[in-house]
Symmetry: none
Subunit: 192 residues, 4 copies
DNA sequence: TATGAATGAGTGTTCATTCAT
DNA sequence: TATGAATGAACACTCATTCAT
């Protein structure tokens, strides 16, 4: 007698997650193109063939990883869309960003590396916008209320700064004094 | 009449430059791994075999590109090492940065894409430091004289900001209002 | 109340038939090698595993299809073995051939495609002979009584002609005027 | 010093021919899908990779084989387009057909097998028409002058007959009395 | 009886690199 | 100096078949 559909579903989603985890860490470590399906399968302790039972192609696997990652980020970085964020909330968001950088280390590394691979940029750009546009809007709003000149550009600059910090930190975590940077950033943008 | 050794050397370095140019534009456009030696040779109008006469391997070619690119950058962004940069000089440096971003577009794209490809990161990190450390030192110096708290971290933040702006601009030049950003940046950091 | 062995047997053979039908149509449509077990199982609304409960292997399934198809053909094209076919009977046989071509369209397509796939030719050749030899014998008999020179070769030629017509018609049904061909064939071989 | 372009061209066309020959015989023997690039390369005594230096894909190789084969056939079976073929010419054509069947044995086998593989039918159908349509026209013409009823259908029937004979002969050459068939065919269609 | 997860050998294809010329 | 034919290891992907449940 076969397993119930529920059992199958559970097996499927568990194994999918195992594959996603293995793939994410390899993609982050070696880059999307250099991490081969063979390596991923080996790391996930499955056969190459099975990969294709769960994801119809390498790119589909990547897409699933991105969906999964962005969902998690959207969840843990819940943007307040009804404007008027207080300084405390702003500080909280900055803190969230830095926390996420550490917790989703591999994901962010992958994110940066994809953005730079022209053939894959489209894939990630689209999914990213869902999360980045609201962030920009919030920043603009915040700077507007702070009476900053050209708050839209200021928001863009702040966004770029976060990108730059993430980029530098992820590429050489041991050399980058992330805590000091965070503190200074908060001082710089809020406490005055 | 046979050529002098100098003429040979010149021909050799000219051809090398042709290959470097072809490779740089393809690496930037398609990514290091996706740009094949065949494509590069075709673009440079030489045979595949000849490539290996000038460069030991694909990675050696990349290395040469990086050397060449950083040399050019060092040259056009001549850091004043005897401290005490004035505001004018600081503004000039920022302007230089933005100019370079456009003029060495392909190189910077490649730079970002390599930084993120772990297998190649080492290659680029090393060469980059030669240019980045003095810049950081200069920034620190400048912020120190401006009596900023923790000028070292401030310098790091400014460096990250430049990275972030470069990253965002290069990835989607048409969507990023680079001129506005530059203006605002100068206002923000100098004109107080 | 549990089912009787007969009921089980019936269910079994019904399911077998479903699989055979699904496989036949896919084999004909896509070719034996291009039609995968997965596709067949999906079309038959069963699991891949169950397929192997009913048929030992893909080739065994093919073999069953051929058995089934030839049986049906033998049945609907009941060769009169006691010689002396009349012109009317002969005409009837020709008509039967053309009818079968349409009714067992998929089967004939498969038949031609297998005959040509050397690895599978043996399988089909053997089964085919059972049906083709008596037909040839009958043809020879008929032509003998018609006082045709070398009636054996004439029978072979007629058989080849039927093959050729079938082949051409099945490969491009819409372009081949099958009815005209049938009429002309009957005129040619009988009405004189 | 490199070879001259002419030398390279010669190497290329010779090797191409070697590959085509190896592939044609394997395609004919095992079928297009079952004959793998590995097998072809082994038979041609080259590496798998080199195949792709000469043909950009397996299908391109097939296409080249078909072009090559049809060209040869068109050449050796030079259709007289200015009507009025005599009985002698007609007999000559029939003889040519049978000769070609033997001389281009592998090609005809491949031809039949492709026609039956739905995914490849288009490829061969197109190229074939170039040769088959003039033949049909010639046949129609001939039968017209012979005052046969419905000469167009008669031509189609004759074409089908040739197909059927070819099909049967190629599939089991040792069992099919091709010479007798040819003789009878000529008797049947001409000598009276 | 029935499921679909799992395997592994196979496929066509790419590409950095070597080498005879 | 210069060519491009040649290699071989790697790649993403497919599929008939097995097996625990």
């Amino acid at each position: 007698m076969p397993r119930t559909p529920e059992q199958y579903e559970e097996i499927r989603s568990e194994k999918k997650q195992i594959i996603i985890d293995a793939a994410l860490s390899l993609f982050a470590e070696k880059g999307y193109h250099s991490a081969s399906i063979s390596m991923i399968a080996k790391k996930a302790n499955i056969s190459k063939g099975l990969m294709y039972n769960y994801f119809e192609s390498k790119e589909a696997l990547l897409s699933a990883i991105l969906d999964h990652g962005f969902k998690q980020i959207l969840y843990s970085f819940d943007i307040n869309k009804d404007n008027n964020i207080s300084d405390e909330e702003f500080e909280h968001y900055i803190n969230s960003m830095f926390t996420m950088l550490n917790e989703n280390n591999s994901f962010w590394k992958l994110y940066f590396s994809l953005f730079v691979q022209p053939s894959l940029q489209e894939l990630v750009a689209q999914k990213m916008m869902e999360w980045y546009m609201p962030l920009l809007a919030m920043l603009k709003d915040y700077f507007e209320r702070k009476c900053v000149d050209d708050p839209e550009t200021e928001a863009l600059i702040f966004g770029s700064l976060l990108d730059g910090i993430g980029f530098n930190y992820l590429m050489a975590p041991s050399l980058y004094p992330i805590e000091k940077v965070k503190k200074q950033l908060i001082n710089k943008y809020i406490k005055r």
